[in-house]
Symmetry: C2
Subunit: 236 residues, 2 copies
């Protein structure tokens, strides 16, 4: 039998939603825009100048309804009866994602993961640029790396504050061992960095105004294993 309760009061998020209504792009949409961008670059490379939502959606791995809805937040950008102009759409998404500016990045921890990121060939023309590298290994400190976007010398963790200040880094990547992650994070935050990408298997504690995205490679595998287990269970 149902239980009676008082009516729900307004939550803080209600006010927030009203505040930025209009120009607010939903988080889920933002998360897909980079994929759309990449897909469009591929089409442009094939000298394709026009796509329908159906075609682009298939290439990007979403439904056409979802694609059209997502693009509607970026602004009306297609032509009814015709489709989307690839170059124009690319420009619109680039603008929305902030590719006009190049956001400077400091990578803390140059193990395999840090190196993978630093050597990623897509930097430069896509809104993000590596400006500083930090590692605790004495053998690495002082070595210069020829990255796709620039030549950068690895600094010592002791110089973190100085390096962040001189390089003007605004986004921090934490690819250190788990044991160093929180202290590295604290120092980045103290330097004024408020956007952090965390690869360490640690839940970072940060002030409210700092945004952390965590990518946990191992959890991704565990999630696949979970589903694989269910699949086997069903089969057996």
């Amino acid at each position: 039998m149902p239980i009676r309760r008082a009516t729900r009061v307004l939550r803080p998020s209600d006010a927030a939603r009203i505040d930025d209504a209009g120009k607010g792009i939903p988080e889920a949409t933002i998360g897909r825009l980079p994929t759309y961008h990449r897909t469009l670059v591929n089409l442009a490379d094939q000298s394709i100048h026009t796509v329908s939502s159906e075609e682009l959606a298939a290439a990007a791995g979403v439904t056409s309804a979802r694609l059209r809805k997502d693009l509607s937040f970026v602004g009306p950008c297609g032509v009814r009866g015709v489709g989307y102009e690839v170059e124009a759409l690319l420009r619109q998404i680039s603008a929305a994602l902030g590719y006009a500016q190049e956001w400077p990045l400091v990578i803390c921890g140059m193990g395999h993961l840090g190196q993978a990121l630093a050597n990623y060939p897509g930097f430069g023309d896509r809104g993000v640029r590596v400006v500083a590298l930090i590692d605790a290994d004495p053998a690495k400190i002082g070595t210069t790396h020829e990255l796709p976007s620039a030549r950068i010398t690895i600094s010592s963790p002791g110089d973190l504050e100085a390096v962040v200040e001189s390089s003007g880094a605004l986004i921090g990547v934490i690819a250190t061992p788990a044991s160093a992650a929180q202290s590295t994070c604290d120092r980045l935050v103290a330097c004024g960095i408020r956007s952090i990408l965390n690869f360490a298997p640690v839940v970072l504690t940060v002030p409210e105004n700092v945004r952390v995205r965590r990518v946990d490679l191992f959890s991704e595998l565990q999630i696949l294993a979970f589903h694989e287990q269910r699949r086997q269970g069903v089969t057996a």
Copy 2:
């Protein structure tokens, strides 16, 4: 003025939901279970034997309501008025995630990212085990790597089918260059692999019964850049 439409028909998902009702754990919950597990291991290492949902939630970076809801899908595992027993909860989550079995993994592409994953120190006791490595670089083929869980020799891409069969791999990781991703994927699928973790910046095309999780490191940065841009815009 509102427009009149016909009433909505039942969707396929409605039937699916009824099918596995009861034992189905929501995707969002599954995605957080590995984090809870890791957090509990940390507590156990500190010889903490009991936690409240409030404490565990704070350590895992979620609200206590969400934590309790998530754990309720794993099964009732706390004691009202007391909290959760760390060891018992660890066992329950491990069982739910499939740590009882060790899911064999083949890593395709031993660049920085593949090496980062292969050398991850958490394998073995957490449900996943590397059983095969593949790379196209002739200098790497045939070299043996001392991984945390085993000694493994890198195989040539030409031997993919043979290696998957002999190793019994059930989960595939694609850490190849973008150009090789789809063909590698196709071959893994042809070998019977139905769970794939894709790090290549490519949307893979797979049959319906194959599950792909894509992790796009660069997109993560772009999403942070987007928010950083908005932040600057608001400030300026």
